[in-house]
Subunit: 357 residues, 4 copies
């Protein structure tokens, strides 16, 4: 299986299924000499972990990261940072009912066809639990970018969406409510709605938006590794994501050039930011802004009809502990992936010029 | 500069600026023994080339590809396919007026900041002319996928959008009009609109949608290299792209799981296709459907105010030969990138199982 | 730090220092459906582990591998195989004397200059302990190659060298003595010599040779990834290796073409094997044969003079538990690296041809 | 076919067969702002090109490089440098006699088995002509390393070997004779010997040694990408190479640690250089010294017996224009590959430390 690594110089490789002994990863390319704030990493894991509020899955996992290598006397040594998060609360029995049947809009069917069989417990490698390793890698990446601030937030749940832009919102309020929406009034409505949905045994989709400030000019690459292409790949690699847009996004397709162009100020900043902080694939020093669409979680706590591996129709019922809406817990994942992209490009940018005096 | 290669096993590396002697690339990993239809490749280049109709740039470039290696007696040998497209109609003088000033919403400013100076003629490496090399690579990739049909089309220009889905449209009509929109009536309206915009010296954005049929189950990878993540990265690496969505896309964020889940038929196909042909990052045998948003071209044939490299305000005027709307010519580019992604994953899928009998 | 991964499709990434909590790795790209013989893996680790005989270091490490992922009901799932080997017997105090001084012919000095500081305990990332992870990866790779037999053996210790070639030796005797030399008489002499050297607090170099049988025609690639170039890179990445040669090797440089050419038999095999099983970088079906030179271990249990980080001369004394001769324990490492190379090329070879019927 | 690229940040990808229209490559990752000395590049090509003296092949190829991209007003722009060398003097007819037969110790047989057929003209992709592209890439890499001096030279032809080490020789004499041996007396003997061998229609092997001065401390990586492992892979990827050793090499295997260890001087330099300039995979500031063994060229201008693709015995006769001894022309190739390795590691070293003030 290809595709377990992310990044060029700062490279995260992850391993692990939700119901094996542990998951974790190796972060390569972290430069030597960074005083690592391990507590800050654990704090990011808490933001992602199950059971943190009433609107997320009630599974209890401590999600405690253990570091195996790459650190000496509190500092990164330049060698690979190996880490693991041990699984402690697997209820594999919850999954025995799907051993021979394919849950709709899950990866069960494609795994069987592709690999010949599958680890049916909890989605195996496709479990969103894999993203815990990304949060660890991303939390280290954040520390490599002390001047950059990455702030993701929930901007939509079902039909309930914010009308204000990132600049108009007070992003310091993101952690003030379990939805992670910076508009307290909208957050309350969203929370109520998610609880309702949960009661129905149903689920709902949503959108996470992100604003990144303090990015220097010059990160990204002009052709295949455009900054926004890597951000897009990063976001689309998160479970349940269906779309990505940055700057003017899909709305930009409706606009004329005379409306869309961002006129320069004399210091190189721009008067508008339809570009979303990226020109020709390279950061231009303005805020990077993008949005990520998440589909509703596929596991419903409702009876449903599906097929088994022989193609027979089976009646079954969703079980287990699942999120009614994935976006509140996905906020730190979006931030982590963005941090990995930016920190990687920061290192690459050190090699842009022959003369580095 | 990183990021000039795309793909893992089938890998395209491109070189070239719009105003240098030539651009081209190397396609590695093409298996041996494919009878290459060189004419079909040239035909794809014709779909992308300037001057093909009245609604695209009037620059005249023959865009003739020359193959240097990797072929013997009409068949691929398994060795790298080197190719070039010589530039013949550069009017570099058209760009002397921007030598010292930064065009709004272009990469001029970020290049100077990143690399210390820039090849200011025609956008240099950031020119959409680079995509000609992708079309060559993609046209070969298409031939590696004889059972797969990739059909992109214009689904929106400015505010003029199609309401029918890919399944409801007759995609055989795409090439029947210069807009490359499969709905003849909408196409006519779009064409009129683009001509109007052009007369104003303005530009307009648009959306390209794509349907891919005949994809086998099992292409893609569960984590970072999800099929849709690679498709997204591919599309976002095309000039002027602002967003990507597949299946239900951003609309899916509004839906409930009970609406969104795709129920199985007994043969493994699904009754709906909100998944867009991809489950957990792996193709499920249904049509792959996605959309790509393009911003309006930044070069306007209007006077505008901007800054020079010293930060002084300068009054200038857009010149050169440019597209009023980029989407008609971007259709083959979208297809080319999709073909590269799918052919690469097809090769990777040969290594999925230990026992390959 | 780059360079913690080895392989293209079958890719091993390792982490870990000798004195951290654990070392381990991630093996990606192992196809699904292989019944993994975990005992066989542990057995390979026993061949590498310290304390196995009187002529190796007396450090006691159980070197027990734990698998975290990638397995389900005894079979590989196609997902990354994460594993760890916990360090249990670190005596970090043994290294406090070198905290501020640079041991001759160790990496201490270059680490300080490169990274600004170093984990001085046991060589950190440069410890040969890292190779335990390679042995795990290689043992899995061996199982991916059921028809291939990889047999490394000690062919020289100091000046004591075998005169017989691999074909003339009975390689089933390799494990019959602690030196891992298949010639019992020579083995006894080598053992005596190593014990003598050890008594002197000195160390000695040696050579490991390897014969690989059962390799199909067609593994390897014609240009940069020649089979022997990858084997060479693999071997030269093992600690203390100073040279690599295959087939006729350095002796071949003395020969004429009329002597060196391997004439064909009618079945495509050759009458001689100066090629060492590789033609133009691709396996030709003959035995692959190569040799690897190891320098004497740098840590002597003798007093010596060196410098500290300020450049002052210091008198010190080698401590710790070290091997007097590295080659007996390096035999399974050579085999592991060879297995990783061959298994990777086996997977790559599945994509050689367009038509795979 | 994998393996057409070399390098991580500074990456050369080559294409081309000896009898196609052109060969060439793309050099990615060359930093912006280097004033490129194009003449110096062409000069390196002259050192490699056929027909330069009486002891090399008499084929006449101008080997003129054309640059397609990556340069603007004489300086590198940071974008990929695309280049081609057009083939002008192919005598493909010289090869029709081998269309259906397999030359001994050539890649003909393995190509047919691997790919199903082959471009039989001049060895196709396996032709040493491919190395012209490496010389171009290496010549640019040399310019990225203004303080480093890479000097390869012929140290052995057949049994005629130098007894002096690199330090004892006057390497400024390398270009003073067609053998490229810095000892004039030995050079004369070697030249006479090669002419004799040529008269017999035979060929002979040889050794190239290399000394690199001015390398800063800190290039290379501790595990798989050890500096000497990358150098070894680079050298073993050159056609006809059978072995690589650095520093004490195979001789080091005979030594005791008490003889082999390089004692430090107070400035961090060492009193001896058995390490060959590399400690633990990382340059230590001493001269890098290594040797590369080349087998005799396989094409003899003598009658020989071999098999055809059906396994029938055929009598044939070597034709074409070939080198009686490959080492004189391989000297610039060795230097080119070494330069690519060092320049790549120089760029990577910019990311070693978090704090780069």
């Amino acid at each position: 299986m290809s595709g377990n690594s992310f990044g060029t110089l700062l490279k995260l490789t992850t391993f692990g299924e939700s119901h094996g002994p542990a998951l974790g990863g190796i972060l390569e390319g972290c430069p030597a000499g960074l005083e690592l704030d391990v507590e800050a990493i654990q704090k990011e894991l808490e933001r992602r972990k199950p059971g943190q509020s009433k609107i997320v899955t009630q599974r209890k996992e401590p999600d405690q990261v253990v570091f195996y290598s790459g650190l000496f006397e509190g500092k990164t040594t330049g060698t690979p940072i190996g880490f693991a998060i041990h699984n402690t609360n697997q209820k594999s029995k919850d999954y025995s009912h799907i051993k021979d049947s394919y849950r709709p809009s899950h990866a069960d069917y494609v795994y069987d066809k592709k690999y010949g069989f599958r680890d049916y417990r909890g989605g195996g490698r496709s479990s969103a639990r894999e993203t815990a390793s990304r949060v660890v890698g991303g939390a280290i990446a954040k520390q490599l970018l002390p001047d950059v601030k990455i702030q993701a937030y929930v901007s939509q749940v079902g039909d309930l969406g914010l009308t204000k832009s990132a600049e108009e919102l007070d992003l310091s309020l993101v952690e003030s409510n379990p939805v992670r929406c910076p508009d307290p009034k909208a957050a309350a409505q969203m929370e109520t709605y998610i609880k309702e949905i949960k009661k129905q045994g149903d689920t709902v989709g949503g959108v996470i938006s992100c604003r990144i400030t303090g990015v220097p000019v010059g990160l990204g690459s002009p052709v295949f590794d455009k900054l926004h292409a890597r951000l897009g790949a990063a976001m689309l690699s998160i479970n349940a994501v269906k779309g990505f847009e940055y700057g003017s996004g899909f709305e930009g397709a409706r606009m004329k050039g005379s409306q869309h162009n961002d006129a320069f100020n004399s210091d190189g900043s721009t008067q508008t930011n339809h570009s979303g902080g990226v020109q020709g694939g390279i950061s231009n020093g303005m805020d990077i802004v993008f949005s990520v669409a998440f589909k509703p979680v596929a596991t419903l706590l409702q009876p449903y009809t599906t097929i088994d591996s022989e193609g027979n129709t089976v009646e079954t019922q969703g079980k287990g502990r699942h999120d009614p809406c994935v976006v509140p817990r996905a906020v730190p994942i979006v931030e982590a992936m963005a941090a990995l992209v930016l920190a990687d490009f920061s290192l690459l940018a050190r090699t842009d010029r022959f003369d580095v005096d």
